[in-house]
């Protein structure tokens, strides 16, 4: 049973996940250096898969590195770059090294990245990927060929409660839950009303009884960053009042933080929410400040978490 699975099943406190900034080079030391900025404050760390369709060190390599450095990895997999054979091989390969948490995404299109000439794959879609990986955890490849012993996998996915068709998002989340997703990291969002409706729909449909919801908040530094997301990241919209709140503030960086804190408090106040996913574009220690201000700093609950990470660092050293 993965550490993340155990924490979510226990349900004694909100679970916090974060994301490792993309790594390109510099050996394990580069991974460790980035990990130190996030791992002490979260329960599990996402190893991204060519985020925004930009090539980086692979999701498998990063997830294995995170695990070897003593933190709990969540290996993201997008459908954009690989077919079903390659994806299954990646999961099995990562599992050999102890990676257990998988997060299945459709993925941004190739046109979102810096190599728009690339062939888009999408051999599987998000819900299909969830079912295929769940099959691996049950002890068989998609072909039916048995895997003995089955890898211990904890499968999750993502959903965007903030993008059209809004009234269909609960049904889509339900499709993912019904096919094996045990947690859903939600897209970055600024519309609290949409999150409320989505979470309420998930509770009503029974989804939250078997799938943990982790809304995402994003730490930014300026109105420009918010405006960029609003304009250039498909599926994210930032309301005018949020933009104005930050741009008109005396200290926009501090106001950005306060906005994120408000969104996080609101998300955690919704019955049916199991924790938070934090994305960080500030890289100034704000993740630690945020979990502290929310009163969900992991040290307060699990001092062993720190030790585990410290121990991992020694191994790497």
């Amino acid at each position: 049973m993965s550490g993340l699975e155990r924490l979510l099943a226990t349900g004694t406190r909100p679970v916090v996940t974060g994301e490792l900034p993309a790594v390109n080079s510099g050996g394990l030391a580069a991974v460790e250096q980035r990990l130190e900025g996030i791992a002490p404050f979260v329960d599990a760390v996402n190893a991204t898969d060519n985020p925004a369709a930009h090539a980086h060190a692979s999701n498998v390599a990063i997830a294995v590195a995170i695990h070897q450095l003593g933190a709990e990895p969540i290996m993201q997999i997008v459908c954009r770059d690989k077919n079903r054979l390659a994806i299954q091989a990646d999961v099995m390969g990562a599992a050999l090294f102890g990676v257990e948490n998988i997060c299945a995404l459709t993925g941004d299109d190739v046109t979102a990245g810096d190599e728009p000439e690339a062939r888009r794959v999408f051999d599987l879609d998000g819900p299909q990927l969830i079912k295929v990986v769940t099959g691996l955890a049950e002890g068989h490849y998609l072909s039916g060929r048995p895997i003995d012993p089955a890898p211990p996998l904890f499968v999750g996915a993502v959903e965007n409660p903030y993008a059209p068709p809004l009234e269909h998002r609960v049904a889509r989340a339900l499709k993912k839950s019904n096919n094996g997703a045990r947690f859903l990291q939600l897209q970055i969002g600024y519309h609290q009303d949409r999150l409320e409706k989505f979470v309420a729909g998930c509770v009503e449909s029974g989804l939250t009884e078997r799938t943990a919801l982790l809304p995402t908040v994003c730490l930014t530094r300026s109105a420009r960053a918010l405006g960029f997301m609003d304009e250039h990241v498909a599926g994210i919209s930032v309301p005018e009042e949020s933009l104005a709140r930050v741009s008109k503030a005396k200290d926009p960086a501090e106001e950005s933080y306060q906005l994120t804190l408000d969104l996080a408090r609101h998300a955690l106040s919704l019955p049916g929410v199991s924790g938070l996913h934090i994305t960080d574009f500030r890289h100034d220690g704000s993740v630690g400040r945020l979990v502290g201000d929310l009163g969900i700093a992991r040290e307060a609950h699990s001092p062993s978490g720190q030790e585990k990470h410290a121990h991992g660092s020694q191994l790497a050293g």
């Binding site: 049973m1 993965s2 699975e5 979510l8 099943a9 349900g11 004694t12 459908c79 079903r84 459709t106 941004d108 299109d109 979102a112 888009r120 999408f122 051999d123 599987l124 879609d125 998000g126 819900p127 299909q128 079912k131 295929v132 099959g135 955890a137 049950e138 068989h140 490849y141 998609l142 072909s143 039916g144 211990p152 904890f154 499968v155 993502v158 959903e159 993008a163 059209p164 068709p165 009234e167 269909h168 049904a171 889509r172 339900l174 499709k175 019904n178 045990r182 897209q187 449909s205 939250t208 009884e209 078997r210 799938t211 943990a212 498909a234 599926g235 106040s269 019955p271 929410v273 199991s274």
Partner: protein, 152 residues
């Protein structure tokens, strides 16, 4: 190369639905909107990149195929109830061997319903109510959020 049936099917479906000849037609379950016209060829619902105005992430000037499919599955006249409900079913991965073959023939022979062995079994049931918890370790669930008061 292509046989007569395929040519007749193409002549009807390409002009009407922009058919991409995948050979395993699911139009009836997606509000008569071909999911293969989605740039990501998604067969199980919209991605997270749908724009605020309902535009496609990849082609902003185009309405998201799944925004259309979802709306049409509810509002299209004459669509049987059974088909409307199928929008939320899980459609299996595309069988790439069927590309450029007649989906009508594949429907009649049942070929379009053949899926890999690993796709079948307990977890393939479409009905959420019947779906069993996957046998993953000692996962105990249900998830609770005790940091919220129960009555909230």
């Amino acid at each position: 190369m292509t046989d007569l049936l395929t040519r007749v099917e193409d002549a009807v479906k390409i002009p009407l639905w922009d058919c991409r000849t995948c050979g395993q037609c699911v139009l009836h379950s997606t509000g008569m909107t071909c999911p293969m016209t989605c740039p990501k060829t998604l067969r199980n619902g919209p991605c997270g990149g749908v724009r605020e105005d309902g535009g496609c992430e990849v082609k902003p000037e185009m309405r998201c195929v799944w925004v259309k499919a979802e709306a049409r599955s509810r509002t299209l006249p004459l669509l049987p109830r059974k088909w409307r409900d199928e929008i939320n079913h899980l459609r299996p991965p595309v069988d790439n061997q069927l590309e450029r073959t007649s989906s009508w023939r594949n429907l009649l022979t049942g070929r379009d319903r053949v899926t890999p062995v690993g796709w079948q079994g307990e977890a393939t049931r479409a009905d959420p109510v019947d779906w069993p918890r996957p046998s993953m370790g000692e996962f105990e669930g249900p998830f609770t959020t005790p940091f919220h008061p129960r009555e909230a």
